[in-house]
């Protein structure tokens, strides 16, 4: 593979990735056992990852959810700084749709009952 002189882009590119000092862990959470009360809403969560650019994540939140730039930026910063953020909530089917749309944009999204 050839890569003629792309090093020059490094400084600009490295200024923007959304960071992931803590990758999502696959752990079973005991409190999730049998609580299936129907009134508990479902939520879509976006997890921090080290590859997606911060500006891109903000852009995707605007595109997928129609959020304002301010709201999208705040959610992106929550993901970046807290490791995750709830980006939408509602019926399970809607959250599965949201997750699939976020996956189509390459974001690391999951849904769960709140």
């Amino acid at each position: 593979m050839e890569a003629p002189g792309f090093r020059g882009h490094a400084a600009e590119a490295m200024a923007v990735p959304i960071s992931a000092t803590v990758a999502p862990e696959r752990t079973v959470r005991p409190e999730q056992d049998e609580d299936v009360r129907p009134d508990r809403p479902w939520v879509t969560i976006v997890w921090n990852d080290p590859i997606n650019l911060m500006t891109y994540v903000t852009y995707v939140f605007q595109q997928v959810f129609g959020y304002s730039k301010e709201k999208a930026t705040k959610l992106m910063l929550d993901v970046h700084q807290k490791g995750k953020a709830v980006v939408s909530s509602g019926a399970r089917e809607q959250m599965e749709l949201d997750v699939s749309r976020l996956h189509a944009h390459g974001l690391w999204a999951t849904l769960q009952q709140d």
Partner: protein
């Protein structure tokens, strides 16, 4: 250096050097090849790149994750294939000056594919921190396609791959700014 993407009179303009276009063409071909391997869940197990391109929708419920995957994975794969194919078509149609106008649909395909390429390459490079992209891989080299027991070859590969990764980040960042 000229910006690869810019908005001019309401239209998104692309401008690439020929070497950049050739590199992207190769990367898109590689991506399409990997996407062609995706048919069911079994192909993703143990494959970090495909696992990142097609993540689980549930973290703590494998059965629900599998069920959702069965519902959306095919469409997700088709969308990725379509985007990469669109990018290849743009590249194939580039005139000698490397310039083209992109429709909103083409721009969306470029954005999605640049992101897929970065996810794939970043996963291969085991990117874990935005401050410290490592040119010197510590450890096993488990995701190193060129690693045949020759440490120098592995280092060269990583250095090239990291350069390409940064190039893709620069392109994508530029495209987001142009669309914003």
């Amino acid at each position: 250096m000229a910006r690869p993407f810019r908005t001019s009179r309401g239209r998104l303009e692309l401008r690439l050097e020929s070497a950049e276009a050739q590199l992207l063409e190769q990367l898109c071909g590689d991506l399409l090849e990997r996407l062609g391997e995706v048919d069911d869940r079994s192909t993703l197990d143990g494959d970090p790149v495909l696992g990142r391109l097609f993540p689980d929708g549930y973290r703590d419920d494998p059965a629900a994750a599998d069920e959702l995957r069965s519902l959306i994975q095919s469409d997700l794969r088709e969308a990725k294939v379509s985007s990469a194919t669109t990018v290849l078509a743009t590249l194939a149609g580039l005139p000698d000056n490397g310039r083209a106008s992109l429709s909103p649909e083409q721009a969306a395909a470029w954005l999605a594919t640049l992101n897929d390429l970065r996810l794939a390459l970043g996963t291969l490079l085991d990117i874990t921190d935005d401050d410290d992209p490592r040119f010197d891989r510590s450890g096993q080299g488990d995701a190193d396609p060129s690693g045949q027991g020759d440490p120098d070859a592995a280092d060269d590969y990583d250095e090239v791959a990291m350069s390409v990764y940064l190039f893709l980040g620069w392109l994508q960042s530029n495209l987001v700014d142009a669309l914003d």
